[in-house]
Amino acid sequence: MDLAEKGSRPLHWFAFLTAAATLVLLGIGGLVTSHGAGMAVPDWPTTYGYNMFFFPFSYWMGGIFYEHSHRLVATLVGVLVVALTRWLGGRPSRLPLAIIGGLELSAGLVLGALGPNWRGAGHFLAGIGGVVLLAAAVWARNAPAPRPLPLLAWVAFFGVQIQGLLGGLRVVLFQDEIGIFHATLAQLFFLLLCLVVLLTSRWWRTLAAALSTVGGGPSSRLSWWMLAATALILFQLMIGATMRHQHAGLAIPDFPLAYGKLWPAMDADSVAAYNQQRLEVTALNPITAFQIGLQMTHRLVALLILVAVGVCAAKAWRLARRSGRAQGAVATNRPVQSLARISLVWFGLILVQALLGAATIWSNKAADLATAHVIFGALSLALGGIVTVISFKLPAPAQAGLPVLEPGGRQGWNATANAMSQPFSSRPLPSGAASHTS
């Protein structure tokens, strides 16, 4: 049975489900750090000596609840990603999956036999290998999705396994730096899955088909603005991850001022005084001058992002209006208008995110607000990635506004959309994509 012929809609919704589960996982990960519970379970992959799937519920208390939930949801996301890889990769993915799964299973069994210290890691690896082998054993002879989806799936496949390993190593190696990397990779992983959702959508296929008649053209300045703003958001998320994994609470307790000043004193005596005057209710690390500098940088970059995304939204909106005035350019008008609308939502997200950042400080880093800040950060990055990819796909404004574009009129877009609602293998494809489906 060819799964692609069965329809690409289920695939799109499965990708959406995987991305949604990842966002939930990211949120629970945020709660783990916000509650300082990253080390509440001292062992990995076991939990207080138990197989993680059989850890008694009566012990799910305090920080253990967050950390253990994080591990279980991570396992679910891992299984979903393996299935997604198999689905997007199609029949050709079976052999590599079988080889990787077999290797992981074998390595896991060997590790498990090395002794009690390795048994947990061995069982964990063997478990992953078993799931991968199971995916390889699915007999469906479905065709792979169009490029670059199989590649993205493989990146996600390896990404999720690296993420799991990093999460475990952070616990057993006591390295906060691993936590920073783990948190940043989580944001990139979510972005990747959101792009898979976009690229498997009917909307995207319709756009790709419509543009196959007019060509992509050179990228507009707007695309580069969007790319820069998205890169800035990623940079900001890295700063945020570093701040959170210092486990020092709020390095600066007030906002918009900083210790009552526009720029706080950061000399050794002042930092010592900040620490002495702070009465911590939870086990926080002492504040350092580096952390104060980091929070000030976070504030400044937030301002830059607000401006950059504002500019992107304004430019996208202007482009949509200009494009809307051009007759016969509907093939690109509708996506341009969609881009403008999504950009506005993006700007709205950034505004909410800035407010959440301020609220995190005003609430003395309340765990729910700090976690919401992490989740909105992930959504901001994902939406930034989506608008950037769309904008690079669209022709430059000079072309978009010209009436020579085909097919013309709203009917033209609808006809293309209807054609594109057909399954991958039975619809008219852009010439570049034809060779990638079978």
Partner: protein, 234 residues
């Protein structure tokens, strides 16, 4: 044989003239009004630990007596090193009672055993977070009624943080010295450092929030040296 007798005679003579160690005793007081301690709301709201407290528990950064006597100050002699009696020293005990570390400020020698008990009906993890190279970070699970845990540190370091990540309000601080000449002030603000060899020293008093104060002292043969130190509330 004659040589051995001569050596014994010299040793006996040296012992007779050897200086006698003395104690350093004193009191520490706090000047000024300390900030109000904070309610540990997460502890009171915890479904397991909260019921172990009838009243709202508070932080205990400044434990001050009626006349300003300050507890939990780590007092030590500076300039002495390599005198640790290590694992042969009597182990120091820290307990987990009602989901709080008791005591919260401790001091041990390098190599000396720190025994952590769990008197609570709930599980804890005991996570030590040293920052000096050579002192390993450790994180151990301790079930209710579980066996005692043992920690020790090879390097001197002040205020190593111990915490429970299951219950994030639980934390204690352990100072490690490579000699036995230290003490932690009690509830009456007093301290005693016993058997200090005669000589001139710098006495250092270190409090987590009130900071550090030092004083030059001289320990004379067999006589107790009395000092009075004061720290300012921040």
């Amino acid at each position: 044989m004659k040589r051995h007798l001569a050596l014994a005679a010299v040793t006996a003579l040296a012992s007779a003239f050897a200086a006698t160690a003395g104690d350093v005793v004193g009191t520490i007081t706090l000047k000024g009004t300390p900030p109000k301690e904070k309610d540990i709301t997460p502890l009171k709201e915890d479904p397991n630990c909260g019921k172990l407290h009838t009243a709202m528990p508070t932080t205990k950064f400044y434990v001050v007596g009626a006349k300003g006597e300050l507890a939990d100050v780590v007092v030590s002699l500076e300039g002495i090193s390599g005198k640790s009696t290590g694992a042969s020293a009597k182990p120091v005990v820290m307990d987990q009672k009602n989901c709080i570390y008791v005591p919260q400020i401790l001091a041990v020698q390098t190599g000396q055993k720190l025994v952590v008990k769990n008197s609570d009906p709930v599980l804890h993890n005991v996570h030590s977070v040293p920052t000096v190279a050579g002192n390993p970070e450790d994180n151990k699970a301790q079930m209710p009624g579980g066996a005692d845990l043992t920690f020790s540190f090879p390097k001197a370091e002040e205020f190593i943080k111990f915490k429970c990540d299951v219950h994030p309000w639980m934390f204690a601080w352990v100072s490690v010295f490579d000699h036995p000449y230290f003490a932690v002030s009690g509830a009456d603000g007093t301290f005693k450092i016993a058997n200090v060899p005669p000589g001139k020293y710098t006495l250092k008093a270190n409090h987590r929030k009130a900071g550090v104060v030092t004083q030059e002292i001289e320990v004379k043969d067999g006589a107790p040296t009395t000092v009075a130190l004061s720290l300012d509330a921040k």
